[in-house]
Symmetry: C2
Subunit: 314 residues, 2 copies
């Protein structure tokens, strides 16, 4: 039970899921829910209907409560396109780039684009970054996932970033390539110690002098065929190779602090791999999307008014 | 019309197709056919039935004609498993490793295994290599394909090899990843000059100092989203990245002659990419499986007798 008055509806709206938050003063999380209504799951493009399912009761109870969303909902395939803000981009640029959804009482956070010789885009991660950093902060932020981002932030602004398709590569190689043949979906996972050892071995193989990913990928098969790796551990070895390759590329030329942002179990896996690369002490602030949505909304003045409605949460 | 007497039935029997050859003296190709009877297409494991379709009429006409097969037919999923011969392996080792199929009048060529710190296997490529090299020859042989092989041969023996999953990576990324989204299967290919330029750009991007595959993969998407690459050319760019990565890995630390073995169109694509890496003059002997099957059978004494039957081809 809390007596905080709600100030903001915040939506982390990606490709495969929709997470909604009811936020109070200072971004305190009053309520949260997760719906299988990512933009690819919304039938007939009925985003207004999905929004109503995610937050309609909150809106009914506190009419006029402002709302903000980040993620693929702002892409060309989403509800209303929120054009990318160019780097360097921080709270000011993201707040200025908010795009209203007509008639919905909802603003969408822009993605971020890097032009020039290393073109790149992000959408959703800019909001997690906004939630992870103290105002004016900096460092190397790593957001593991389907498309992992490695982001250099200085003075509170995203300066440069790379994308590693590590999660997607693992998924397609597991499901659709010869490397997934030794393990069926319904098989139980290998014992923890076997999985850990195979993962660490994959990371270490990629870290070795002169190693490169492409020929090592096939070793996930060849090692099993030659008796050097238990078949049930082949996917953990593959995961180690892919994450190792990401770390080798991402760490090159970097010094200073590192933070891992996102799902706790995945971040722990990256922490293990970082240790094999001799990097310890990464910060792990967890999932910072709600905090980022609050900060961007606050910077844009969306949260300025008195708490919507007079009622408080029971 | 020829009056050569048949001496050998030779089968190049892979995962997805079965190519059969009727060979005369010196390995001269008297007749050939291709059937969609790769080991994954043979229903119920009826390899004897598939063999009859591929060469039954030849056997009926020239009873006692010896037969030899190479490729996945000798794997654990094939007809009879032909255990891998360890490197270094040349004609002598392959001939000694032939495994008979009981009652079929057929011998299967072993694959080759590399143990130790870089375990690897091949099955089928050893036979193409046997057909490509003069006795006692050497050099770097490249066999582009689903699982490209880079093979160091010295004095007629396979010494060391790497596998690059280039073809399989391209196929799974095209079909199952976000990188294939800009091009549908039914779309017409881009104009030749657009495709060539995008391919060359991908190769060059991978060749650049400090480049690595994983972050560049996503650029096949980011370049299109930022207007730097025509969407219809995104797969050619991706192909350039993947082949470029293979070349960078394969060429590292190598000097001396190179030969490209296999499908002519694919070898030509690799020749273009090699030129971007400053490597010219690669030999391109084409498909050498039949020649290799002949040489291995000859070394094993399978072709020693008089031509089977007295009849000659019409």
């Amino acid at each position: 039970m809390t007596d905080d008055a709600p100030r903001l509806i915040a939506l982390d709206w990606g490709t495969s899921s929709l997470r909604s938050y009811l936020l109070g003063d200072g971004g305190a999380v009053l309520d949260t829910r997760r719906l299988p209504l990512g933009i690819m799951q919304v039938e007939g493009g009925d985003f207004a209907g999905a929004f109503a399912k995610a937050a309609g009761d909150w809106r009914a109870r506190w009419p006029g409560l402002p709302a903000i969303a980040a993620g693929m909902i702002g892409s060309a395939q989403g509800w209303v396109e929120a054009p990318y803000a160019p780097v360097p981009a921080g709270l000011d640029e993201l707040a200025r780039g908010l795009v209203p959804v007509p008639g919905a009482g909802l603003h969408i956070v822009p993605g971020v684009v890097q032009r020039g010789d290393a073109p790149n885009v992000m959408r959703g991660e800019e909001t997690q970054i906004a939630g992870a950093l103290p105002e004016g902060g900096g460092g190397l932020l790593v957001l593991p996932g389907t498309h992992s981002k490695w982001v250099e932030v200085a003075e509170g602004r995203i300066r440069r970033f790379d994308t590693y398709m590590t999660g997607e590569l693992f998924a397609v190689l597991r499901r659709h390539s010869i490397l997934g043949r030794f393990v069926r979906e319904e098989d139980p996972p290998p014992p923890d110690d076997v999985a850990r050892e195979a993962f660490a071995r994959g990371v270490a193989a990629l870290r070795a002098e002169g190693a490169s990913l492409s020929p090592l990928l096939f070793s996930a098969r060849a090692l099993v065929l030659t008796g050097g790796l238990p078949p049930e551990a082949s996917l953990d070895y593959l995961s180690g190779l892919l994450i190792g390759d990401e770390l080798r590329g991402g760490l090159a030329g970097h010094a200073g602090s590192i933070a891992l942002i996102g799902d706790a179990a995945l971040c722990a896996r990256y922490e293990t791999a970082l240790a094999i690369f001799g990097v310890a002490g990464a910060g792990m602030p967890g999932d910072t999307a709600a905090a980022g949505l609050w900060r961007i909304a606050e910077r844009a003045g969306l949260t300025r008014g008195p708490a919507a409605g007079a009622e408080t949460l029971p």
